[in-house]
Amino acid sequence: MTSDTHASAARSTKSAARPVKVWDLPTRIFHWTLVAMVSIGYLTGWVFAENTMGLHLWAGYITVSLLVFRLTWGVFGSEYSRLETFSFSPVHILSHMKELATLRPVRHYIGHNPTGSLMVFGLLIVLSTITLSGLVVLGGEENQGPLAGIASYAAGDMADVVHTSLVILLLTMIVLHVGGVYMEIKLTGEKLVRAMITGLKTVPAGTPALKHRKARPFAATIVITLFVSFAGTLLWDFSTMAPSGLATLPPSGTYESECGDCHMPYHPSLLPIASWQKMMASLGDHFGEDASLDEQTVAEITTYLTQYGSESWDTEAANRFRTVNPQKPLQITETPYWISKHEDISPDTFKRKKVGVKSNCGACHTDHYTGRFDDQKIKIPPQE
């Protein structure tokens, strides 16, 4: 047993420089999985197109699991994984920072040093807030996930600001973290990156005996199981609620066939009532064509669109398309939101045979007639 070796080595108070197991395997796996999840989360949420949202959600859910594990392991893990071993007083942290500022070799800490520990706690708090705000964004804006039945669009929109701002903060912290590790490597000569892979750090000669409490995996498992059962049941209950943003749209054969004769019928939530009414009153010149209908049909469709226009929905699309272009209030593809969401799509993509025109929503948004417009449902037809 390696811990026995440490114990016997520690018994002789003055010993030579020797490797000591500092980071246990679960903590190391946690660290590098978190690195992977944050990278995937950043790429799929910020760099790649929206249709990678499915992967983004997986990265988020795995990050939540990692955080639950790490906080539990912070109590039941082996010595240096325990939060108490790197909880320093603010005075202690400040004096360590001052010491670092001299850029001279500093006192050696086997686990996290005081400044590093500040970063670890900071990262745990920021990552928890990012994932929780992400769940609110998912429920409020996308009508998905466990909070779909609870979070309003406005709540999701607010959470989106928190989510995005904290990601910027997180990126800054990652830069500082890597810089700090580099600095410590330079100042103490420790191979810190290797330590997070092998778990071993070299303790300088003359270091006094180390107490090294073992991990308590059984207790940790029980706590995690209890937490997951409790939180899981709660979230499961929430997730059985109907998404709060979606109204029930009874099918209208008249609307779908009369409007669907020339173009895909647009989901009624995509324009405000005022726009629909204006459109129905001007069918004689409908985007450059005569689309007139008999009076009775016009009345029927107007009633339908008035009842189910964007005001009746709390989806992202309904909320965003409610702001129309005042010069072209009938044209969804002229709304500021539509334009900003499609500016990265090349004109060639719209010319593809299966798309043809910008107004052919269903060519890429495979769930367009639900009004949801899920990011994961975007399937851009490939080049012929």
């Binding site: 895909m264 450059g288 005569d290 007139s292 043809g356 060519a363």
Partner: protein
């Protein structure tokens, strides 16, 4: 044995399909519609004029739709495409047997498309000519 069964099945299906294709021509809806236009003052059908209408360019209606073939294919045998990219079934009655059998639809599309392309309503005579041309296709 199996190939004979297949052959018989195919033949039956083809026959049934053929009968379905032929039936609107035998039954009256299209003839009734034409008779209705004649009652509004149209004379005998002139398919040649119908063809001229179908293939011609007007430019007197809405700017985006100067001719029928803006959306319909120049060959009535082939399908067209609306300006929004939606497919239009071929206009030829032989290809789309349901053409000109629903009075409401016929009125709706003559009203809209004559207005969009020509910029006025079509006369009863023009409607009869137009339908009779596409019945020969």
């Amino acid at each position: 044995m199996k190939s004979i069964t297949t052959l018989v099945c195919t033949f039956t299906l083809v026959a049934a399909f053929g009968a379905a294709l032929a039936s609107p021509a035998l039954a009256g809806p299209r003839e009734d519609i034409i008779a209705g236009f004649m009652a509004q003052g149209a004379g005998p059908a002139n398919p040649a004029n119908g063809q001229k209408m179908y293939e011609g360019t007007y430019g007197t209606g809405k700017p985006g739709t100067p001719k029928c073939t803006t959306c319909h294919d120049i060959s009535p045998q082939k399908g067209g495409q609306t300006r929004t990219g939606k497919a239009i079934e071929p206009m030829a009655v032989s290809r789309t047997p349901a053409r000109f059998t629903d009075k409401k639809k016929v009125d709706k599309w003559f009203r809209r498309n004559c207005s969009s392309v020509i910029g006025r309503e079509c006369t009863a005579q023009e409607k009869v000519d137009f339908i009779s041309f596409l019945m020969t296709q």
